[in-house]
């Protein structure tokens, strides 16, 4: 066994990827093209409805996998398919090895199977002296390079035509032109021979249909058809999660799979095989056929309330296609065998903690994957769950433990923040070590200017600046969040005028504290619960219409997580609290009347680009309101391509992977710069920190403002 990679080695590999210009460009083109491709493929269809249905089908099948397995097995017997159930990856390899031995097979052709990749089948069979040839073009290329696939659907997406030409020149012993059509023809010729010579064909299965004992395989190249036609033996390998009751469910999933994977309506070939068909070179004129089912932890996972969702995956690869981290570093740093968001999850369950430890951290939690998942899997939540599992096994880091202690007592917590403002004095001109935001004083963090903790937090200023509204039309309280209370009080101050215009009576309960999101992200659930209850109690006695927050992260956390964290004892209070929470722009949009339509505010006709905070757009599904609110004040909103892409801060993500964070940020700012915007507005202090810090460092002529600052 190779020694597990250290975090340092992993970071080094990530850095190498960032320094590979071809990879960067290829990933970037792909990320942009995919959006349009997918949208076109789903045109006229209710995507969410399709996703829900796929999720329902998969979840119901996973729960009854055993029954479906028995049913398939019975039909398979009638169809002369030999059925095997492998408990582990090794068992599966051993079974396939013995099928080869019993049938006297020496040469094997394979069509693409992620399950075969999962069990490292090729290496096993080659060790036994068998010749194994991958026939999917991309898989063949990575096999020849002795690599794994870097994408579930496009295994060689990390390679250039030049690299492929060099590789094929080596393989054929003949100089090959750098021409994609020609290179494809080289593969056609080389591999055609392999099919005819092969004794055995190995495929995966996209669908395993219980009621007829049929397997369904989708390909674009047509290689699976040759693999299941020319050799005398066919072995299909698939996880038990691929079982479906009938072809109806398979047809439905197949309607979604290609659209979500590559923006195709359907793949070139979909093949349905119900047992051995005619094979003129086989004994008895029929092929020998085996179905190897792989468990490898799946049956246990199927019984897990939270993680069974991971088995709904239909392997479309979309979660990688939209991931801002994948876009920067490619698949080989974004998974072990399975790539993308789902890879960060399944690696832990299928390939163990050693292989999952570092990659599981490489997620900004932006939620883009969840938005496009064909099976509606809550990927960020499961990744977070895997991080928690790893942390529970490895031990919690000191900073999390400290946070836990500190958050229990608000006075102590805020006292520390206040003293931080004094302690930072010698450095506060440029950068500072925040104690609650675990920023590190390192060179790698230097890509953005970091703001200082203010000497007078918002809570000390509130009484003096709160507008006196005579007969209020609405009663609100502010939830400030730590960053705006202690670092960006100006965001809240700027909002006061708009509250006054809205005729709002504003309160600021002094007992409010951190929302608890940072604690939850560090796996400190108990601390998150403690502050949730503190906050509920802080607002409980007030007669309020809304609890307004200017921080999208707080808003999302208070809305979704607090009711869950509060537990049975505070259930009612928690719900009453959460229901009142509203993001600033949504509040203004709801209250807007003639007074808001003050176009003179933006009289200079300044162009404003919008950065949609992850917690606002995907966390709360809010897209229109902030842009409308800005436009109503006379600003010119300009659309940008990367408006909804994560800024790369993502709490402690930018501390763990500063170089990736830096590149995500650079991409974002370049996009805004191209739009010619004067102002980049957003609604989360964390995003302001990242974006403003980056704009300042790069010396850009763009002002990064919170939406409240724009409106004032």
């Amino acid at each position: 066994m190779a020694r597990p990679e250290t975090i340092k080695q992993y970071r080094k590999r990530v850095q190498e990827a960032l320094e590979n210009p071809f990879l960067r460009q290829a990933m970037d083109n792909f990320a942009v093209a995919y959006r349009t491709g997918r949208a076109n493929a789903f045109k006229g269809l209710d995507v969410q409805d399709h996703v829900r249905k796929v999720a329902d089908i998969k979840q119901s099948c996973i729960k009854q996998w055993r029954r479906l397995f028995e049913q398939f097995k019975e039909k398979a017997l009638e169809n002369n398919i030999h059925v095997h159930l492998a408990d582990t990856a090794e068992d599966a390899c051993r079974i396939i090895e013995s099928i080869a031995a019993d049938s006297g097979s020496k040469k094997i052709v394979k069509s693409k199977s992620m399950t075969a990749e999962e069990i490292h089948l090729n290496a096993w069979l080659e060790k036994e002296g068998l010749e194994v040839t991958e026939t999917d073009l991309g898989e063949w290329i990575v096999q020849l390079r002795k690599e794994g696939p870097s994408h579930m659907v496009m295994p060689a997406i990390h390679l250039s035509r030049n690299q492929v030409a060099d590789l094929f020149s080596d393989v054929t012993g003949k100089k090959q032109e750098v021409d994609i059509d020609q290179l494809v023809k080289v593969a056609r010729k080389e591999l055609r021979e392999k099919y005819f010579q092969a004794d055995m064909g190995i495929t995966g299965a996209n669908f395993v249909i219980a009621d007829t004992g049929t397997i369904g395989i989708t390909t674009n190249e047509g290689n699976a058809r040759l693999v299941t036609t020319l050799p005398g033996v066919h072995v299909a390998v698939a996880g038990i999660d691929k079982l479906l009751p009938s072809i109806s469910e398979a047809l439905f999933i197949n309607r979604v799979l290609p659209k979500n994977a590559t923006g195709q309506q359907i793949t070139s070939y979909v093949t349905w095989i119900t047992g051995p068909s005619e094979c003129t070179v086989a004994e008895g004129g029929k092929r020998e056929m085996h179905m190897v089912f792989l468990d490898n932890g799946r049956s246990k996972l199927a019984g897990d309330d939270v993680f069974s969702q991971a088995l709904s995956c239909i392997r479309c690869g979309a979660c990688a296609n939209v991931c801002p981290v994948y876009r920067m570093v490619g698949g080989h740093r974004m998974g072990h065998v399975y790539i993308g968001a789902i890879g960060l999850i399944t690696t832990y369950f299928f390939h163990g903690i050693e292989n999952a430890r570092h990659i599981a951290k490489n997620c900004t939690g932006c939620g883009a994957c969840k938005e496009v998942c064909a099976a509606g899997i809550d990927l960020p939540e499961l990744i977070k769950g895997v991080q928690d599992k790893i942390r529970d096994r490895d031990g919690h880091p000191v900073k999390g433990m400290l946070l836990k202690q500190v958050l229990k007592n608000r006075r102590m917590f805020h006292g520390l923040l206040r003293s931080a403002s004094i302690a930072q004095k010698p450095f506060s001109k440029d950068a500072f070590l925040h104690r609650h935001l675990p920023m590190i004083f390192s060179k790698e963090q230097d890509f953005r200017a970091i703001p200082a903790v203010v000497s007078r937090p918002f809570r000390d200023r509130f009484e003096k600046i709160v507008p006196a509204v005579e007969s209020p039309t609405v009663k609100i309280a502010l939830f400030s969040g730590c960053l705006q209370d202690f670092v960006y009080p100006e965001h809240l101050e700027a909002a006061m005028a708009s509250f006054e215009r809205a005729g709002a009576d504003v309160k600021f309960p002094m007992d409010q504290t951190c929302c608890g999101l940072p604690a939850l992200m560090m796996g400190e659930g108990e601390a998150a619960r403690s502050v949730a209850v503190q906050n509920i109690m802080a607002f409980k006695e007030l007669d309020l219409d809304y609890i307004v927050t200017l921080c999208a992260s707080c808003a999302s956390h208070l809305t979704h997580k607090v009711p869950k964290l509060a537990g049975e004892r505070f259930k009612e209070e928690a719900l009453a609290f959460s229901e009142k929470v509203i993001p600033y722009s949504v509040f203004l949009d709801r209250m807007s009347d003639e007074a808001e339509y003050d176009v003179s505010a933006g009289q200079t006709g300044q162009k404003v680009a919008w950065h949609a905070p992850c917690h606002l757009i995907r966390g709360l599904g809010i897209s229109r309101e902030p842009k409308d609110v800005i436009s109503r004040r006379g600003f010119r909103y300009v659309a940008t391509c990367e408006e909804e892409t994560c800024c790369g801060l993502a709490g402690s993500y930018s501390v763990d992977f500063p170089l990736v964070s830096k590149e995500i940020l650079a991409k974002k700012l370049a996009d805004v710069e191209q739009s010619g915007a004067d102002i980049l507005a957003t609604e989360c202090p964390g995003c302001v920190l990242q974006l403003r810090g980056g704009a300042v460092r790069q010396g850009l002529d763009i002002r990064v403002l919170h939406v409240s600052e724009v409106l004032s």
């Binding site: 073009l137 060689a156 994609i180 674009n220 093949t271 119900t274």
Partner: protein, 191 residues
């Protein structure tokens, strides 16, 4: 429905035509075959047609003889370098995706559609269905038979595995030609 089918099939680079009768079909096949580069090293061109009725085969064979083309019906496996043109018959077509549904239980039928450079599929207009969901019963019957091999074919073999650039004809046919017949030339199950 036939228009939708045609649009969708052409979107994935299939060539769709509406020959008036079999004579036109065969003429077209001969033209396609004579115009292409041979796939065998010795230059001999081959058409594989496992499914045509014997009188139709005789007709096609006459044309092939005139043009120096070999016509084969079986043992397509011996053509390791492939055949120039393969003719198969579709059972159904799906308008929504431009897909052909072909019972491919027999090895020769399968190979004629896999190792041919040009794949010609004959189909009846009446066999077009709106979507796969509108023919679930037929599909259940086709896939429910033991030993069955049912193929959905949509366009030519394709790949985008090198730099996501689309290339046709990686393993299967380089071109797919769909010929839609308004009149039936075979009835019920394929001859």
């Amino acid at each position: 429905m036939v228009n939708r089918f045609t649009t969708m099939a052409e979107q994935v680079s299939a060539f769709v035509s509406f020959p008036a009768d079999l004579e036109q079909v065969f003429e077209k096949c001969i033209t396609l075959c004579t115009q292409k580069k041979p796939c065998s090293r010795d230059g001999q061109k081959t058409i594989a047609s496992p499914d045509l009725a014997s009188d139709h085969m005789a007709e096609l064979n006459n044309l092939c003889l005139k043009n120096g083309i070999e016509l084969v019906r079986e043992n397509i496996r011996q053509y390791e370098q492939g055949v120039d043109l393969g003719i198969t018959l579709a059972d159904f077509a799906i308008a929504e995706t431009g897909t052909l549904v072909i019972n491919s239980d027999g090895e020769d039928r399968r190979l004629a559609s896999m190792v041919s450079d040009l794949h010609v599929v004959l189909m009846h207009e009446k066999d077009i269905r709106e979507s796969a969901f509108d023919m679930e019963d037929d599909l259940k019957q086709m896939t429910g038979r033991s030993g069955s091999y049912t193929a959905f074919i949509t366009g030519a073999s394709r790949t985008a595995d090198i730099e996501r650039v689309l290339a046709l004809g990686v393993h299967g046919p380089l071109e797919l030609h769909i010929m839609i017949l308004r009149e039936e030339i075979w009835h019920g199950p394929k001859p």
